[in-house]
């Protein structure tokens, strides 16, 4: 197995291949809720899905929110345009997600996606459906999005590859914003090579996104791997044990070095401050009179109208709007927002220095997948703490990839490898090399030929 895309193109497909596959997807989706929308007319090429915050013309794109129920975008996101530019990829549907990307487990939405290995367990978030769909269907990739770990976390919990490229290498035009300075479109796939094929297809300059300016991608192989001991100590014992075994295996080919970071483990607070501040401005546009869930009663005073129209946000979205608005207020701005920006730049600086010499490796999540019922009991702060490892590279816009490396009690574990800006190919190469000696396990293989 190197590339499912290449393999698929070489194999003869039965005549009613797509009909059968779509039927299978619909059936399985009844249990796992990976897809919000399934495109039953897909008939050519390799299937791809998109997270529900990436606009695909003509398909309901609700970003997991009641506020956008029924919203069908009148235009394609740049990534959708590029995927559909030739007939070699076919759009199979819109995938489930935490409302506006707010979540680590995929449960902050009306009907959460379920883990592809066991439907009692969380799928991970916020690109929950993209990961589950990738774990469900053999010949399929998903275009997903990460703000603070939303690709890596669900990819790890569903045993697939989750690749988040350098900030600014893939256009965000048509991506429904969570936090503009952090949002990155990336790929979930069953192999590193497939992730690379899709990455090359969607990346590159776009006039419609000013921040999309990274054109050159390198493949500078590093021989050193840095592990942050103090951060690792916060992972649970099972995860730590498995990760130590991974390090043992890697130490044959790489120099594994244990280092400490003064700033990286402090990344959670500044991340949430910046993300919430930006999110509270991005969510201001949902006012019930232009698109999505429309107000029925227009005979109201403005303040009353806006208050009523914005009732439809979920609890986590409301929390982030309120906190984000507070953070932006004049009296506390310097205390939180300005400080968060300063810490962000310190973290970026420190990581940048470290990543010149080697990769940073960690478990993707500090725990194994919890049951949905247990995850619901976590407090917001306990939830945010789950992003310990995924936040630093996201905060700095560094490319990172989560790849499956072990299975505990039948559930997959993911590790996260980080490299410097623009060196995206290097970590894709690293995972490709890893895949040559690692056996992926899947519970479902829909569309298998």
């Amino acid at each position: 197995m190197a590339s499912y895309i290449r393999e698929f193109n070489e194999i003869e497909k039965p005549k009613d291949y797509y009909e059968g596959l779509i039927e299978g997807i619909e059936k399985l989706n009844g249990t796992y809720d990976a897809f919000n929308v399934i495109n039953k007319s897909a008939r050519t090429g390799f299937l791809f899905s998109t997270k529900a915050n990436i606009c695909v013309k003509g398909f309901e794109t609700d970003a997991g929110s009641k506020m956008l129920k029924g919203y069908v975008p009148p235009f394609n996101a740049t990534v959708a345009d590029r995927m559909l530019a030739k007939k070699d990829f076919s759009f199979i549907g819109v995938t489930n997600m935490d409302e506006f990307g707010f979540g680590t487990f995929g449960i902050n939405t009306e009907i959460p996606a379920k883990n592809a290995f066991d439907s009692e367990y969380v799928a991970g978030g916020s690109s929950s459906g993209s990961a589950v769909a990738t774990a469900m269907i053999k010949y399929h990739v998903s275009v997903a999005e990460s703000t603070g770990g939303s690709i890596a976390a669900p990819a790890a919990l569903n045993g697939v590859v989750g690749f988040t490229p350098t900030y600014g290498s893939v256009s965000r035009y048509g991506l429904i914003d969570y936090a503009n300075s952090l949002d990155k479109i990336g790929v979930m796939a069953r192999s590193s090579e497939d992730a690379r094929i899709v990455f090359d297809r969607i990346r590159g300059r776009d006039d419609y996104d000013t921040t999309c300016s990274v054109e050159k991608i390198s493949s500078e192989k590093k021989s050193r791997i840095f592990v942050m001991d103090s951060m690792l100590s916060k992972a649970d014992q099972k995860v730590r044990g498995a990760f130590e075994r991974l390090l043992d295996r890697l130490s044959r080919d790489y120099s594994v070095e244990h280092v400490d970071s003064a700033t990286m483990e402090k990344a959670i607070a500044p991340y949430y401050i910046i993300a919430m501040a930006e999110a509270s401005t991005n969510l201001a546009k949902y006012t019930g009179y232009k698109y999505g869930a429309m107000s029925q009663d227009f005979y109201k005073q403005y303040n009353e109208f806006f208050t009523d129209a914005r009732e439809g946000f979920g609890i986590e979205a409301k929390r982030r709007i309120l906190l984000g608005t507070f953070i932006r207020s004049e009296s506390v701005k310097d205390k939180y927002y300005a400080k968060a920006l300063a810490i962000r730049s310190m973290i970026m600086h420190e990581m940048d220095r470290l990543l010149k010499d080697g990769y940073i490796l960690s478990p993707t999540l500090p725990i194994t997948a919890p049951k949905i019922a247990d995850a619901r009991k976590l407090s917001p702060v306990e939830n945010y703490a789950m992003d310990l490892f995924t936040i630093p590279p996201n905060l700095g816009g560094f490319p990172h990839i989560s790849f499956p490396y072990d299975y505990i009690d039948g559930m997959p574990l993911g590790a996260q490898l980080v490299t410097g800006h623009g060196n995206d190919y290097a970590i894709l190469d690293f995972v490709k090399e890893w895949e040559s000696s690692f056996n992926y396990t899947y519970k479902h293989n829909l569309g298998e030929l």
Partner: protein
């Protein structure tokens, strides 16, 4: 007294500030797209022409120019604002720390910032309709320090600003919108959204009187925002404010920072200074020149073109004659040349002469100008000396043209001028017969 202004000016670009929608006036909601409607997923694309235009203004107002400018989001909920935030500038403003000279005084310019205009609200009974055509129109906001201290100074400031903007290709006659901040004593009162120069002056006058009256009566002036009612010519309380509004400004990370180096922009023309230069050593006051060229680049160009050949007084006189009687927006060189030449030769230039010159009939004709008495005398002498021609005319009225020509040509008079006085005389003769 302290007066400060926040002046909003629409920039003359073909397309909007962040998308490629046309700015041509059209049916409501016909020039719109996902970007200026703030649809989910859309992102702003900065219009370079708008930046260049704003750069010209910041430069003309002696601002220091940010090498890397940036934008912020100003968040508030109102139906005219599709994203519920306006993209504008604060610390990253394109220009800051400038000034504008009015007479011997400098009015300091705090900031020149680029921002997008919201949509237009149209009241329709109990409902409000929204026209998004205006949404995303590029604006420049010019913020002054409170350095203006009288109505006269404000007039002068607006006049100079208007002239500077005019020469940069920005016409603010109707488009200008301003917030006027007035403190007669200590407390600052803001009159928001005043449209047009006339209303700006009137709202200021009203506020000065209102605040002065209040002070005289020992009343306290409230720190507040007021609105100006054009019909009533007065201001009314909109909202009292103890502290400044909370807009939750945040860096607009969709636009990152934008480098301004290497951008092209127009250089300013300061009409007052140019007028002083032109009037130097002539018998014309710089004020007269200034009045002519303030809002008229065509006149300035003509003065510069003719300056070496003619006296300034003749040129200005010629321009004034043409402005009064000519028909073209831009003065044709050839016509103005003839007019100024006539004036230089001590001739008056009547309307008829300009009409003839314009239709290209006989550009070199120089018409004498006689008083009515002189003209009547001339005509009466001719009529008395040519009875056979008069008799002919009585039989065949169209021969009148021959008589007119015979009087006009040898005397260097315009035929129409002759005709105007000749006809009553001929009529009187006809009646007496």
């Amino acid at each position: 007294m302290k007066i400060g202004l926040e002046v909003h000016v629409a920039l003359p670009t073909k397309t909007k500030l962040f998308c490629s929608c046309s700015m041509e006036a059209a049916e409501p909601n016909s020039c719109i797209c996902p970007i200026c409607m703030g649809f989910p997923g859309s992102k702003p694309m900065l219009n370079k022409a708008a930046v260049e235009s704003a750069l010209g203004i910041a430069n003309a107002l002696h601002c220091s120019i940010k090498k890397e400018m940036s934008f912020v989001r100003k968040v508030y909920f109102y139906p005219d604002l599709p994203k519920s935030y306006q993209i504008t500038q604060m610390e990253g403003s394109i220009g800051s720390g400038g000034y504008l000279e009015i007479g011997d005084k400098r009015v300091r310019i705090r900031r020149v910032q680029i921002e997008e205009d919201p949509a237009q609200l149209i009241r329709d009974g109990a409902l409000t309709l929204i026209d998004f055509n205006r949404s995303g129109t590029p604006l420049v906001e010019i913020v002054t320090e409170p350095d203006i201290s009288s109505e006269e100074e404000m007039r002068s400031f607006i006049g100079s600003l208007r002239s500077i903007l005019y020469y940069l290709g920005v016409d603010i006659n109707k488009e200008i919108k301003a917030d006027v901040n007035i403190s007669v004593a200590e407390t600052r009162v803001e009159v928001k959204n005043v449209t047009g120069i006339k209303s700006m002056i009137e709202s200021l006058r009203f506020e000065i009187e209102r605040q002065t009256e209040a002070i005289r009566n020992g009343e306290e002036i409230a720190k507040e925002t007021r609105g100006y009612n054009e019909k009533a010519r007065s201001t009314q309380t909109l909202r009292e404010k103890e502290s400044d509004e909370e807009y939750g400004y945040i860096f607009e990370s969709d636009l990152t920072v934008f480098g301004t180096e290497g951008l092209k922009f127009n250089l300013p023309v300061y009409a007052n200074e140019v007028a002083k230069e032109l009037a130097k050593g002539t018998d014309v006051s710089s004020r007269t020149v200034s009045e002519i060229i303030m809002l008229d680049r065509d006149s300035l160009a003509q003065i510069n073109r003719l300056r070496g050949r003619h006296g300034l007084r003749s040129i200005i006189h010629g321009i004034e004659r043409y402005k009064k009687y000519g028909s073209m927006e831009r003065m044709p060189d050839r016509v103005l040349d003839s007019i100024v030449l006539l004036i230089d030769n001590g001739k008056e230039v009547p309307k008829e002469a300009i009409t003839d010159l314009e239709s290209g009939k006989d550009a070199k004709v120089e018409y004498s100008e006689l008083s009515e008495e002189q003209l009547d005398k001339l005509i009466n002498e001719y009529v008395a000396g040519n009875p056979e021609l008069i008799n002919e005319y009585m039989k065949q009225p169209k021969t009148v043209n021959f008589i007119i020509e015979n009087i006009a040509r040898p005397n260097g008079l315009h035929p129409k001028v002759v005709a105007r006085r000749l006809m009553p005389i001929l009529n009187r003769i006809a009646e007496s017969r």
